[in-house]
Symmetry: C3
C-alpha cells in the first residue's frame, strides 16, 4: 500500500445493460484505482445448488486488470439465495420477534451448521476459481456481519454450553446473576429457559456477549478458509459498521470490533454521515478513531462511504472533497464509494452512487475526479499517515449492554452511544484528537489523558487498572455511572463509584433525574453562565477531604451536593462528573483536567467549524489538515509553517489564512 | 332513474325492537325513496349451514314496496358467520402479520375456493328467494371489497402462475425485476419464495397489482351469479371506497376502480369527509370525479355518506344540505346515508345515522326533510346532470404503488395520495372542475389540459401518448418523479424525466430533499412572495434550449437549477415542476400553462370557500351551483343569468349575491 | 392492631452477602416493626419439583421474632420457577398477542388446573412448615394478582360455560349483545368463536367481567387454603394495585377490588406516586379511599409504597414524612416500603429501597427514622382513625370497560380513569374528603352528596336507585355519558341520559366533540372567565321545564344548548354536566350543588397545595391533618383549636399557622 486507494463498489450483476467498458473508461477518468465486487451475489454465482456461474466475476477481473484497477473480492455470504431457503428454511435466523421471512439480506443464522456447510462451499468454490487472478489485492469476509439478534436454537444451546463451562455449579450462576429475584433461579441445566424474554439484565448481557462472540468466531472461520487459498501479498479485511440511526451513529452493539478484527490483516469500515448543512466530520472522526484502533493504529480502509447517497445527502459543492480528505486525516488508506452507479431496481434505488441512474457526468462525479487526481498526486505525502495522539477514550461493549439495560428515565435506544458521542463530539469540536481504546493496560500510560464515559459494568481488574493509570501520573475524566456494577452487571454493594472512588476521591449513595437543574462553577477556571444544564442523570456527590468541588447543582433540594469533582491521586489526577454536561462544559472540564499539560492531541486553538488534525507521514514530516466544516468562509492565523500541498504555496506561522465554505488546506511542515 | 334518489341504509336485523312501521312512516316524512339492505347479514340469513331465515328481508321488502320506497339488496358476503369459520378456519385471510382472527368484517380470503363455494351458495339462495320482488331496483355486490392484504397460499400460488404465463423464462423476470440484487434471483419456479417480505419493489408492485386483479375478478364473479337471477330493469352496482385516513382521503390502493367497475351497470361509492369547520367539499369533489369516470361520465350513486357520523362530524346547521347538493353537483344520482338509525351495540355505536339511538326527530333529521323535499321538487332539473369538463387529471394505481415504495425522506403512508390531493385540491380551490382519467388515449384529446402528478411508474407507451397529447395541442402539467421508472418499477437509465423529457424540454440527473428551500419566480406572471416553499422533493432541473424557466430554487448550493419549466412541443405546451408546490402556486402554474385558453372547467373567478360547478341537465340547460363552504356570509357578483331554483327568483349577470354561512344557490340558465 | 405499623419488604434471598443481623439492627434503629417476606420466591423455596428449601424463611422468621419485628408472609405464587415451565409450558398465560414467554413475573394462567395443582402444593408446603411460628401476624395471598389478559383455552371455555348458564337460549344472547351486527351471530354453542378479537363491545365487556371474576375466585381459593393452616389471630390480606401509568393512576381495570376483597380480613394495597415537585398527595388520597372502602371503612395496609423508588422519585427533604402521614390521614394502619434495600441485579435494580445498594445511612433513611419514632410515639392518638365523610363518589368496573370501548375522539388508554381522576382531583384540591362506593343502595343515603362520573353502562336497577337517592334528599353530580347504555353495553333507545333523565330533568339526542368550545355561566354563582374549556365530549342538552341551566356552550352552532343543568327532584337535587369541565369549574359546580349543606367532608376553606383531613380516633377525638403539598412556605389561620401532636403545642382557632415546604401539622381537638 504505497498509494492512497480511491475506490468504488461495482456490481456488473446489477447493470440494466452491458456497460463494463464504458464504466472502466469513466473510472479511469475519475482516478479510481480499486473496486470492490461480489459480496452480495451468491444467487448469481450459484443460481442452483452446485451450479456455478462466474461470468460477471471473470469479466470484471479481466477488464479491471487490463485497466490497472485493483480488485477486492468479498465472500458472497451475507445474502442467501432463494433455493437455499426453499431447501433449508431453518437457516433463516430466529429473533425475539420470531423467525425472519425471506427477502432482506442479513437474515441468516450464522451458527446454523447447514448454513455453514453451504457458505463454506460457495466460499471455497469462488476462492478456487479466482485465487490466482493478478487483479486481486485482497479479500473481504462477508459484509457488515452481525449476529442479527439471533435467539435461535443453536445460539441458545451454545450459550448454555458456554455457561456450563464457566460455571460447573449453578449455585454460583444463580448468585452472580441474582436469579433468585422473581423466581428466576435455575437449579438444573435441563430447565435452562430460553433467554430472549428474560428480565434478568445479567443473563441478558451475558447472552449478548455470547452473541457477539459468535460473530468473532464466524469471521475467524471465514478468514481461515479464505487464507487456505489467498496469496501472501493479498490482505484479508472486513467491512465493519456502526450503530445505525439513519447514519453511522456510534459504537456497534452487535459486534465486538476489537475481538473480531483479530482475524483480519487490515481493518475496514463503512462510514455514512449526515451531509449538506448537517455535515460536521464528527462521524468520520469517531469512526476513523475506532477503526484505526483495531489494528494497532495502522491505516484502515473506508470500504464504503457515500457519494450521493440518500436524497438528503446530495453533497453541496466542495463537500465530497472535504469528506475524502477528512478520512485521510483520520488515518484512512482508502476511500471507496458505495457505489459506482445507482441501482435501478429493488430496494436501495434511492441510495445513489457516484453516477446517477443515467450514468452521466454529474456535478458530484466531476468533483470526484479532482479527488482522484489529488490522491494520485499527493500519495507520496499522504499515504501511510500515523496519528500521534496522547488522549484516549475508553469504549466497551459490555458497559454499553449493561447501561442500556437500565436507561435513565425516559431515555430510549442506545443511550450509551448518546453519552459516548457527547464526550467524543465535545473533544472533536474542541480540536482534541483522540485515540479509542477498549481496555486499560500498562500501554495506556503512553496517553497523558484518559476519558471514561459510561463505564457502567466492569470487573475489579479494569477499575483497578484505571486507578493505577491515574496513580502513575495519568489524568482521567470519569463520567457518571462508571464503576457502578461488576462484570456480571451486579451493582456493587460498596460505596459508589465502586473501586474508582479511590482515584476520584468522591462518593455517592443517592442519585436522581435532573429536572430543570443547572450547575454552578466553584472555580474561576469554569464559566457556567451558559450551557449549564445537567442532563440525563445526576449523582449526589460528596467529595472526600482534599477533593476539589468543581461544580455544584443549582436546585433547592440538592444544592449541598457536588456535581463534578477533581482529586489528586498518586502522580495523577481524576475528574469525576456526576451528570451529562453539554459539550462546551465538557471541553472546559477537559481543559481544567489537563491544565499545564502539553498535549499533541490539542491540534489547534480554534474550534469547530474549523477542525484541524496533525499526523506524521512516512518521511517523518508532520501533515496538518485544516478543514472548514461550514458553508461560510473562515479566517484563521496559521498555526504552523510549511508548504500547503494542494496549492504548493508556502505558509508562515501566524499568517492569515482564509478557507472558503467547505474548503480545506493541507500543510506539510 | 328519472329522479334523484334520497336514501338510507336500513338494518331491521339490528333493531332493539320492532320499529318497521314507524321507521317507514318517518322515512316518508323525510323524503326517503330508496333503502339499502342486507349487505352484512349472512349470519342472520343463514344462521347455520343450509338453514335460511328470510324473515327480515321479506318483511322489509314487503313494507317498503307498500310504502313506495325502492330497495337495493346487497349480497351478504363481506362478513362471514361464526359457523363457517368454526368449520373452515382457513377461509380467514392471511396477511403479512399472520392469519386474521375472527371478529371483524372483511377478513376473508376472497380467493379461497371453500369461501367461494359458501359465498356462491348464499348469494344464489338469496337471489332465488327475492329475485321477483317488485320493490327491488338493483343489486349491490358485496361491500367495499378489497384484497384485505391477502398473502395467503392461494393468492401467492396464483401470483406465481400469473408470472409463469407472462415470463416463460425466469431470466427475463430476474432481469426485469432486478432480482440479482442482494441475491434475490429465482432460478427455478419451485424455489419461488413467499413475497410478503420481499425487498424488491418490482416484485412487490407486481404482487400488489395481482392482488387488485383478484378483487376485479371476484366482483365480476359475483356479478355473473347475480345476473343469472336479476331482472332486466335492475342494475348491478358496488359500493367502492377510498384510501381511509379517518375519512375518504384519496385513491384506493387496494382496488383498481376502473377495472373492477367494468362488471357494474352503475358505479357506487361511499364518501365520508371531515365536517363542522373542516368541511370543504374537497372529498365530495375528488370522490365524485373518480366515481363519475368509472362508467364513462355517467351519473353514479353515493351509496353511503354521513348523516351525523362520528361525534366530531355532527353537522352544523346547513351543512347536511350543502353536502347533499354538492354530491349532485359532482354528478351523483343518489345520496344515501349510512344509516337510518344509530346502532345500539357492537362496534359502530358511535357512527351515528340520521336518527340517534332514541329515534327522535333530531335537528339533523329535520334538515334532511328539506333535502328530501327539494330532491323531489327539483328532480326534473337536477336528475341526470352531466359534467362538461375540459381539464383531466391522471391517476394510476401502479404509479401509486411504485412511488409509495420509495417515499421521499421521512414521508409516511400513502404519499402518492398526498401529492394527488395537493394538485386536486389546488384546482378545486381555484374553481377548476376536472375529470379523472386513468390512461391517456386518443380520446384524451378532448381535454384541453392534462394534469399528471406523480406518474412514477409507466411503460413507454403511456409516456409516449402523453408526449403525443402535447404534440397535438394539449397542455400538460407534469409533476416531479413522473416518467422516472418503467412499468416494472425499474428506473430508466436514460436521461430523466425519461421519455417525457421530449415534451417537457427539461432534464435532470440529480435531486435532493428540500430543507428550508423556497422558489423564486422567473416570470412576472408568477408571484412567489408567499407560499413559496419547495416541499417533499426537489429535482435539479436543467432546461433544454428554448425551454422557459418559470421558477428557480432559492438556496446557496442549488440556485443554478430550475424548479419549474415550460416548453412548447408541437402544437401544445408542457409545464414541468420538479418539487411539490403549495396550492396557490399550483393554481398560478395552471393559469400560466392555460394562458389564452377558454376553459369550460374554469367555472368562476372566485376561489374557495366560494365553490362553483356548472353541469348540463337533460334539457340541455346549464345548471350553475354556488356553494359557500364557510360559516361566514359571502358576497359575490352573479357570473350568469338565470333562475335560482331553490327560491324561484331570477338572477342577472353581475347582480350582487349573498350566501349565508354554509348556504348554496342553484341557477338554471 | 393497636399500633401503627411501619414496615419494609425484605428479601434475604436477594442479598449479595449475609446481612441479616446488620439489617435487623438497622431496622430497629429505623423504627421498623413489621416486614413482608417471601411473596416472589417460589424458585428458592422449591428449587426442583418436590425439593424444599426453607433456609431463608426460617432464619428471617427467627431473627425477626427475636428482634420483636412482626412478619407477614406472602404465598410465593406470582412468579413461577423455570422447572415448572420446562415441565408444563402450557401454564404460561396466552394473551391476544400469543402465549407469553418465560422471564417476567405474573405471566401464569391462573385458571390452568396444572398451575393450580403446583401452586396449591407450594402454598400448603410453606404453610405447614411455618404455620406455628410466633413472628407471623398475617398472610398475604399472592401479589398484585390480575388476570394478565388471559384469553387462553381455560378462560374462554369457562366464559362460554358461564354464558350457557345465564342464557339457556342463544337467541337472547344474540339479542342482548346485538350479535346480528356484521354477521357476528352465534347459533350453536359449538360455534362459539374465540373472543379476543371480537368487535362486539357487549361480548368484550362480558368477557372482561368474567376475567375479573376469575381473579376473585383465585384469591378466594388461596384464602381458603391459607385459612386451613392460619391461626385465629393472624389476618389474611392481599396487595391490590391500581391502573399503572408509571405510577398508581386510577381504578384497576383487571380486578374487581370490591368483590375480591370479600376473601380478605384486611385490605392491602400498593400506592406509588409522582414525587419531587410532582408530589400532590392525590394518589395517596384516591388509593386510600378505594382501599378503605373495601372492608367497610376500616383501616387498611399500605403494603408497598416508595422510599426512594425510581430515580426521578428520590424524595426532597420532608417528602417521605409528608407521604407517610398522608397515608395515615387516609386511614392507613400500615406504611410499608418496597423495599428495605435496593436490589443489585436483574430488573428492578433502579427501583430503590430505603437503603441504597451500599446499605449506608443515606438522607432518605435518616428521615425514615423520624417517621418510625413518631409512629411509635403517636400510635395512641393515630392508630385506628376513621373517616367520617358525607360525600361519596361512585366507581364501577363495568362502566369503565364499556366507556373505554367507545373512547371519545382521539382519546387513548383508560379514559374512564382520566374522567374519574378529574372529578376526584377537583374535590381533593378543594379539600372535599370523600368515600368511594361501587354501588348505590339504601345505605348510600348516609351520604349527603354523590358524585357519579362516567357511569356509562348500568342496569335499570342502579339508575333507578340513583334517582331514588336524589328523590329522598340526596344531591347528585352526574357526569356526561352516565346512564347511556345498559348492563350489556347496549345503548338505551329511550331519551338520554336514560333513566337518569328523571332526576336530572334534562335530555339530549345529539352530541359532538368540543373543538375550541368554552362554556359560559348562566348564574352569578359560577365564574367562567377562566378554566372554561369544554373538554373531551359535549352533549347538546335540553333542560326540561323547571330545570335550571347552569352553563351554556359558547359556539356559533351550539349556543342554544345547555352544557350543565340543575334540577330539583323529590327532596333532593341533581346537577348534570354534559362535558368534561376543568377542575376549578367542577369545584364550583360542587359548591352550587351543595349550596346550604353542612358537610363534614368539607375540611377546610383553603385549597391545594394546602390539604386538610379530619378523622376521628379511638378516643372519639377529632384529628386534623394539615399538609403543605408544596416546596414553599404556606400561611393559614387555624380552623380548629387543639393540641399540635408533633410539637405538643396548643393551637387556637384563627391563630396564624405557618408550614414550611412539604411540612405538615396534626391537631387533636
Amino acid at each position: 500500500m504505497s498509494d492512497l486507494y480511491y475506490g468504488v463498489a461495482y456490481y456488473d450483476e446489477y447493470m440494466p445493460e452491458d456497460r463494463l467498458a464504458q464504466d472502466i473508461a469513466l473510472m479511469r477518468e475519475t482516478g479510481i484505482n480499486v473496486v470492490r465486487i461480489a459480496e452480495s451475489t451468491w444467487s448469481t454465482l450459484e443460481p442452483q445448488e452446485g451450479e456455478y456461474h462466474f461470468y460477471h466475476i471473470d469479466r470484471v477481473l479481466n477488464a479491471m486488470h487490463q485497466a490497472g484497477i485493483a480488485v477486492i473480492i468479498g465472500t458472497p455470504t451475507y445474502a442467501v439465495p432463494a433455493w437455499l431457503v426453499a431447501k433449508h428454511p431453518d437457516i433463516l435466523v430466529t429473533t425475539a420477534e420470531g423467525q425472519q421471512k425471506y427477502g432482506p439480506r442479513q437474515i441468516m443464522d450464522i451458527v446454523n451448521p447447514t448454513f455453514r456447510r453451504y457458505a463454506e462451499n460457495i466460499i471455497r468454490t469462488l476462492m478456487a476459481h479466482v485465487q490466482n487472478h493478478p487483479a486481486i489485492i485482497g479479500w473481504q469476509l462477508d459484509n457488515e456481519t452481525k449476529h442479527y439478534d439471533n435467539v435461535g436454537r443453536y445460539m441458545q444451546e451454545g450459550f448454555v454450553r458456554s455457561l456450563q463451562e464457566k460455571y460447573p455449579s449453578l449455585d454460583r450462576l444463580n448468585h452472580d446473576f441474582g436469579l433468585d429475584y422473581w423466581s428466576n433461579r435455575i437449579d438444573s441445566w435441563d430447565d435452562f429457559p430460553p433467554v430472549e424474554n428474560t428480565i434478568n439484565a445479567s443473563l441478558a448481557c451475558a447472552f449478548s456477549r455470547y452473541q457477539r462472540q459468535q460473530v468473532t468466531e464466524y469471521l475467524a472461520w471465514q478468514a481461515e478458509i479464505v487464507r487456505e487459498y489467498a496469496q501472501p501479498h493479498q490482505f484479508v479485511t472486513h467491512n465493519f459498521d456502526f450503530e445505525w440511526r439513519g447514519y453511522s451513529f456510534g459504537v456497534q452493539p452487535r459486534v465486538d470490533h476489537f475481538a473480531a478484527a483479530k482475524a483480519l490483516d487490515i481493518a475496514g469500515v463503512d462510514i455514512y454521515h449526515p451531509s449538506q448543512k448537517h455535515l460536521t466530520g464528527r462521524e468520520i472522526a469517531f469512526g476513523g478513531a475506532i477503526t484505526r484502533a483495531l489494528k494497532g493504529g495502522n491505516n484502515y480502509f473506508v470500504l464504503e462511504t457515500q457519494a450521493q447517497g440518500f436524497a438528503q445527502w446530495t453533497p453541496f459543492p466542495g463537500q465530497l472533497r472535504l469528506q475524502a480528505f477528512s478520512h485521510v486525516a483520520s488515518g484512512a488508506a482508502m476511500v471507496s464509494y458505495w457505489h459506482w452507479h445507482s441501482i435501478h431496481n429493488s430496494f436501495e434505488t434511492y441510495w445513489k452512487g457516484l453516477l446517477s441512474h443515467d450514468f452521466s457526468r454529474n456535478a458530484t462525479w466531476q468533483e470526484a475526479t479532482t479527488i482522484g487526481a489529488d490522491f494520485a498526486r499527493l500519495s507520496p505525502q499522504l499515504a501511510g499517515l500515523r496519528a500521534e495522539n496522547d488522549v484516549a477514550l475508553l469504549i466497551n461493549n459490555e458497559a454499553m449492554d449493561a447501561l442500556n439495560q437500565f436507561r435513565p428515565g425516559d431515555a430510549q435506544g442506545n443511550v450509551y452511544n448518546d453519552i459516548f458521542r457527547r464526550f467524543h463530539d465535545a473533544l472533536y469540536d474542541h480540536n482534541i484528537a483522540l485515540d479509542i481504546i477498549n481496555d486499560v493496560t500498562e500501554e495506556t500510560s503512553r496517553y497523558k489523558t484518559l476519558i471514561v464515559p459510561g463505564l457502567y459494568a466492569a470487573d475489579d481488574g479494569l477499575l483497578t487498572r484505571i486507578n493505577r493509570y491515574v496513580e502513575q501520573g495519568g489524568r482521567a475524566l470519569i463520567g457518571f455511572k462508571s464503576g457502578f456494577s461488576d462484570e456480571n452487571v451486579k451493582v456493587r454493594s460498596s460505596v459508589q463509584p465502586g473501586i474508582l472512588h479511590s482515584a476520584c476521591g468522591v462518593t455517592y449513595s443517592q442519585f436522581t433525574l435532573p429536572e430543570d437543574v443547572t450547575v454552578a462553577a466553584c472555580t474561576s477556571a469554569l464559566d457556567c453562565r451558559e450551557h449549564n444544564a445537567a442532563e440525563l442523570w445526576m449523582e449526589l456527590l460528596t467529595p472526600a477531604p482534599g477533593t476539589r468541588t468543581l461544580l455544584r447543582y443549582q436546585h433547592p433540594a440538592w444544592r449541598e451536593y457536588a456535581a463534578a469533582t477533581e482529586a489528586d491521586y498518586g502522580k495523577g489526577r481524576a475528574l469525576y462528573v456526576g451528570f451529562l454536561p453539554q459539550k462546551t462544559l465538557i471541553s472546559q472540564l477537559f481543559d481544567t483536567l489537563t491544565d499545564g499539560l502539553e498535549l499533541r492531541s490539542r491540534t489547534s486553538a480554534y474550534r469547530y467549524p474549523l477542525i484541524t488534525r496533525t499526523l506524521r507521514n512516512r518521511d517523518g514530516k508532520r501533515i496538518h489538515f485544516l478543514f472548514n466544516y461550514s458553508g461560510d468562509s473562515q479566517e484563521m492565523l496559521a498555526e504552523t509553517s510549511g508548504t500547503e500541498l494542494l496549492s504548493g504555496k508556502s505558509v508562515t506561522l501566524g499568517e492569515p489564512l482564509r478557507l472558503r465554505g467547505w474548503e480545506f488546506s493541507i500543510i506539510e511542515s
